[in-house]
C-alpha cells in the first residue's frame, strides 16, 4: 500500500459512504416490495423492470422539488437539523467491519462508538422538531426524546451481552468469537438478548409499533412535517441509514457477522454479512406490517418494566456464565 494512511482511510471512507447511501436508497425499494407482498400487492412495478429504478426516480423527484421554509421557522436550526440528523446515522458505519480487514476503522471500542454515535441522531431530530415551529413537529420531537431515553438503556444492555461473551468491544473480535456458535443461537442468554435487541432496535429507530413520533392520525408526519425537497430526502436517508446500520450491528453481534461457508475470501464474507443484515432488516419490516401502533404509556411500560430489567438480568447472567466458565468466546 503506497498511499499514506490518512489518504487510504479517506478513500475507504468515501467508498463506504457512497455504498451506504446507494444501499439505503435501494433498501427503500426492498421494504416497499416486501410490504406490498405482505398485503398481496405488487409494489413499485413500472419504473424500470419490476420497479428497479423506482428509488432513483424518487431521489430525482425529491431533488427537484421546491424547498419550503416556514415563515416562522427558526431558519438556522431548521436548515441545520437534517445534516445534524444525517451525520451520526452515516457515521455509525465507520466502525463496522464488512469482512476481515474491510472497513473504515476497526476501533477497539467499536461497539461503544456505535452505540454512542447512533444515539446522537436525536439531537438533529429535536432540532428539526423545534426549528419547524410547528406544534405537531414539536410534540413528535418530544415524544422521540422521551422514547430514546427509555429505550437506549435496554438497547445498550442487550448489545453488551455479546460484548461480555466475547470479552471485547472490538467488532472483528466479537465476530471471530462466534466461530463456534453464533451468539444469537447461544442457549437462552443469546436467544433472549437477541429478542431484546430487536425490540429495542425497533424502538430506537422509531419503527412500528413504536412509531408514536410519526403517528399519522395525530401528528401528521411527525417531526419532519415541515420539511420538503432535499431536506426531507436527507432525513429519510438518515432514518434508513440508521435502520440499516443497526441491522448490520445486529447481524454482527448475534448472527456471526461475515462468518459462513467460504468466508475466508473477503467478498464472500461481505456477502454473508450483507445477507444477514438484510435478514434482520426484513424481520424489522415484517414487524412493521404486522402490528398496530401502541400507546405512549404502553411503550414506556414495556421499556422500564420488562425490557430494562430483562436485559440487565441477561447481562448479569452472561457475566456470571463467563466467570463460571472462566473464559470468553462461544
Amino acid at each position: 500500500m503506497t498511499l499514506p494512511p490518512l489518504a487510504y482511510h479517506a478513500l475507504v471512507g468515501f467508498v463506504v459512504l457512497n455504498v451506504v447511501i446507494g444501499m439505503v436508497t435501494y433498501v427503500t425499494l426492498l421494504e416497499r416490495k416486501f410490504a406490498a407482498r405482505m398485503q398481496s400487492r405488487i409494489g413499485p412495478y413500472y419504473v424500470g423492470p419490476h420497479g428497479l429504478l423506482q428509488p432513483i426516480a424518487d431521489a430525482i423527484k425529491l431533488m427537484i422539488k421546491e424547498d419550503v421554509v416556514p415563515t416562522a421557522a427558526d431558519r438556522w436550526v431548521y436548515n441545520l437539523a437534517p445534516i445534524v440528523f444525517l451525520v451520526p446515522c452515516v457515521l455509525i458505519f465507520a466502525t463496522l467491519p464488512f469482512a476481515p480487514g474491510l472497513g473504515v476503522a476497526d476501533l477497539n471500542i467499536g461497539v461503544l462508538f456505535f452505540l454512542a454515535v447512533s444515539s446522537l441522531e436525536i439531537v438533529g431530530l429535536f432540532m428539526g422538531g423545534w426549528g419547524s415551529n410547528n406544534k405537531y413537529a414539536l410534540l413528535s420531537a418530544m415524544r422521540a426524546v422521551n422514547q430514546i431515553i427509555s429505550y437506549d438503556l435496554p438497547f445498550v444492555f442487550a448489545a453488551l451481552v455479546p460484548v461480555v461473551l466475547a470479552g471485547s468491544l472490538q467488532m472483528s473480535v466479537i465476530v471471530e468469537a462466534q466461530r463456534g456458535l453464533w451468539f444469537g443461537a447461544y442457549p437462552v442468554i443469546g436467544w433472549l438478548s437477541f429478542i431484546a435487541f430487536l425490540v429495542a432496535t425497533l424502538a430506537a429507530e422509531n419503527r412500528v409499533p413504536f412509531d408514536i413520533l410519526e403517528a399519522e392520525s395525530e401528528l401528521v408526519a411527525g417531526f419532519r412535517v415541515e420539511y420538503s425537497g432535499m431536506k426531507f430526502a436527507l432525513i429519510q436517508l438518515g432514518e434508513y441509514a440508521h435502520i440499516i446500520g443497526t441491522s448490520f450491528l445486529g447481524a454482527l453481534l448475534f448472527l456471526g457477522g461475515w462468518l459462513g461457508p467460504g468466508s475466508d475470501y473477503v467478498l464472500i464474507g461481505a456477502f454473508w454479512f450483507l445477507l444477514k443484515a438484510m435478514l434482520v432488516f426484513l424481520v424489522i419490516t415484517w414487524v412493521r406490517w404486522s402490528f398496530v401502533r401502541i400507546r405512549v404509556d404502553q411503550i414506556l411500560a414495556i421499556s422500564w418494566k420488562l425490557l430494562l430489567p430483562a436485559s440487565l438480568v441477561l447481562l448479569l447472567a452472561a457475566a456470571f456464565w463467563v466467570a463460571v466458565r472462566g473464559g470468553h468466546g462461544a
Binding site: A36, M38, S40, R41, I42, W286, F291, D297, A301, L306
Partner: protein
C-alpha cells in the same frame, strides 16, 4: 392502564401468542400470490349489472336511433345532467339534441330504468379520466359513439321493468289466482304480496337491486 391492574407479567404469554399470530398472518400473505390486477393492461371481468358510462343505442335490426326524445330521463335525473329536445316526425319522434354532463352524473341508473325504448344504457367501463372537463360533456353523437365502443351492461329499461312484472303463471289455476292480484301489476315500484312470490323468494322490492332468479335473462353469477 388496564393491563397493569390485570397484571403486567401475567399477560405476557397472551401477548406472545398475539405477536405470533399477527406475524403469522403477514407471513402467510407473503407466500401468497399478489391479487393486484394491473388495470390499464389487464381489465377484470365486470359484473353484468355494472353501472358505468352512459351511452345511446341504435336499433339492432333497422339501424335507427332508439331514442324518441320523450324526455323521461331528463325528468327523472336527480342531478339534472340530461337535457333533451324532441324532434317531431311522422312515424316516430327523435331526439333533436341529447346532452349529458357526465362529470356531474351520479350513476344512479334511473334514466336507464325509465327509458321506454332501451335507448340509454350503461356500459361496462369507467374510463372517465381526462385532462379536459369538456370531454365529459357528451352530446348525441358522442353518446352513440360510446355505445359502439364499449361493452353494454345487462340492464336496459325493458329488462328492468320485466323484473317488476310478476312471473307468467304456468297453469290456468294459478292464472286465476294471479288474476286476483292483478292490480298489483299497475304499481311497478312496489311489489304487492301475491301467490307467485314463492317462486322468487329473494325478489327485490326495488328495481335497482339484482334480478331475481325466476326472471328471464337474469345475469348468472359472474365467474370472476
Amino acid at each position: 392502564m388496564a393491563p397493569e391492574r390485570a397484571g403486567f407479567w401475567t399477560e405476557i404469554p397472551q401477548l406472545t401468542r398475539a405477536i405470533a399470530r399477527a406475524m403469522g398472518v403477514t407471513f402467510r400473505n407473503l407466500l401468497r400470490r399478489p391479487i393486484t390486477v394491473r388495470y390499464p393492461t389487464v381489465k377484470r371481468v365486470y359484473p353484468d349489472r355494472f353501472r358505468g358510462i352512459l351511452a345511446l343505442t341504435y336499433d339492432g335490426e333497422t339501424g335507427e336511433e332508439n331514442c324518441i326524445g320523450c324526455r323521461l330521463c331528463e325528468y327523472i335525473c336527480p342531478p339534472q345532467v340530461i337535457k333533451v329536445e324532441m324532434l317531431k316526425a311522422e312515424k316516430r319522434n327523435y331526439a333533436k339534441t341529447f346532452t349529458l354532463e357526465l362529470y356531474s352524473c351520479e350513476f344512479c341508473e334511473l334514466c336507464v330504468q325509465v327509458c321506454p325504448t332501451d335507448a340509454i344504457i350503461m356500459l361496462k367501463s369507467f374510463d372517465l379520466a381526462t385532462a379536459d372537463r369538456r370531454e365529459l360533456l357528451l352530446d348525441k353523437d358522442r353518446l352513440h359513439a360510446l355505445g359502439l365502443q364499449f361493452e353494454p351492461s345487462w340492464a336496459t329499461g325493458n329488462r328492468l321493468r320485466d323484473m317488476q312484472a310478476p312471473p307468467k303463471p304456468p297453469k290456468p289455476a294459478a292464472a286465476a289466482a294471479a288474476g286476483a292480484a292483478a292490480p298489483a301489476q299497475s304499481s311497478p315500484d312496489r311489489r304487492a304480496p301475491e301467490p307467485a312470490a314463492e317462486a322468487a323468494p329473494t325478489a327485490p322490492s326495488s328495481p335497482d337491486r339484482r334480478a331475481p332468479e325466476a326472471s328471464e335473462g337474469a345475469p348468472t353469477a359472474n365467474p370472476e
